[in-house]
């Protein structure tokens, strides 16, 4: 997985080139699944807060959509702000993929996929041109 993080002075992190992710979740769809709400969240600890979770990307997948996803060169959908300066030098930012099953009727389970990716953040800010 190739990553490239740009951290700006105002704690703004933009991740580009999120590598590529392939997943096939055909097995989750059954007669009572109306849609899946997939999301990639980053979880980490900082001095300010013991637990932080930020959703970086999400996708709605309806029953009938192609269940095999191949995502390449995706930009982070949402800005990755921290509450404070906790991303600088943080070695332990974990990305996990989870999904919310929305049934035609019934219980709404939230499932986290097994496995995760750890993303270490650089120790210094990088100055970039503003848009």
């Amino acid at each position: 997985m190739h990553e490239r993080e740009i951290m700006r002075k105002d704690n703004l992190v933009e991740r580009s080139d999120l590598g590529f992710i392939t997943f096939d979740i055909t097995s989750i769809f059954d007669w009572n699944v109306k849609q899946l709400f997939l999301y990639l969240s980053a979880e980490y600890s900082t001095k300010n807060n013991a637990l932080n979770q930020v959703v970086l990307w999400d996708k709605i997948m309806l029953r009938g959509d192609n269940p095999r996803l191949f995502l390449k060169d995706m930009k982070s959908k949402y800005f990755f702000f921290d509450d404070g300066n906790g991303l600088k030098g943080n070695r332990n930012v974990t990305l996990t993929l989870s999904w919310n099953v929305v049934p035609n009727a019934g219980i709404l389970p939230l499932v986290t996929g097994s496995g995760h990716v750890s993303v270490p953040f650089p120790d210094t800010y990088e100055t970039t041109k503003s848009y």
Binding site: F37, Y39, S41, Q53, I60, L108
Partner: protein, 177 residues
């Protein structure tokens, strides 16, 4: 109609019996509702979705079942129902960011799946985060369309009164053989 014939023949005792029957039905319904509030820990365990901000998952008129257990941690991706301070309308959106301190104090941000931006515009003036106290409950189960009845009754009050009148008449006039 046979129904009104029965009514004329009823004496005082039978009328009291019918009224008590009616009162019992109303009390049972209230007890079930209060029981649900206790079991789920939520002040409003069943809510109707009022807007389309969570489409295509939930549509206006769908019914949601909530729990609000004190020890249930709020995590990113969960669907929460919350009320903005000072406003009565519950909002059903998804948690997209949480920052939790070691002592359990948590502040979080929400966004409707179908909205382009997060909910900061919906919060109180100057408020950037939601807290546990703003949460009415977590969405655990869902039934489509069923809540439409409530919306119709709200939008057309005459329909609500008509329905209540019919239900009341039926219970009062029904004779147990």
């Amino acid at each position: 109609m046979d129904l009104f014939g029965d009514l004329r023949r009823m004496n005082k005792r039978q009328l009291y019996y019918q009224v008590l029957n009616f009162a019992m039905i109303v009390s049972s319904a209230l007890m079930i509702w209060k029981g649900l509030i206790v079991i789920t820990g939520s002040e409003s365990p069943i809510v109707v979705v009022l807007s389309g901000s969570m489409e295509p998952a939930f549509h206006r008129g769908d019914l949601l079942f909530l729990t609000n257990f004190h020890d249930d941690p709020i995590r990113a991706g969960e669907i929460v129902v919350f009320k903005v301070e000072g406003r009565d309308i519950p909002i059903v959106h998804r948690v997209i960011k949480i920052h939790e301190k070691e002592n359990g104090n948590i502040k979080f941000l929400t966004k409707g799946d179908n909205n382009e931006v997060d909910d900061r515009g919906l919060y109180k003036e100057g408020q950037n985060w939601l807290e546990k106290k703003d949460v009415v409950g977590r969405a655990r189960g869902f039934l489509p369309y069923v809540g439409m009845v409530t919306i119709i009754m709200n939008d057309y009050p005459k329909f609500k009164y008509a329905l209540l009148a019919v239900m009341g008449a039926y219970v009062l006039l029904k004779r147990e053989s």
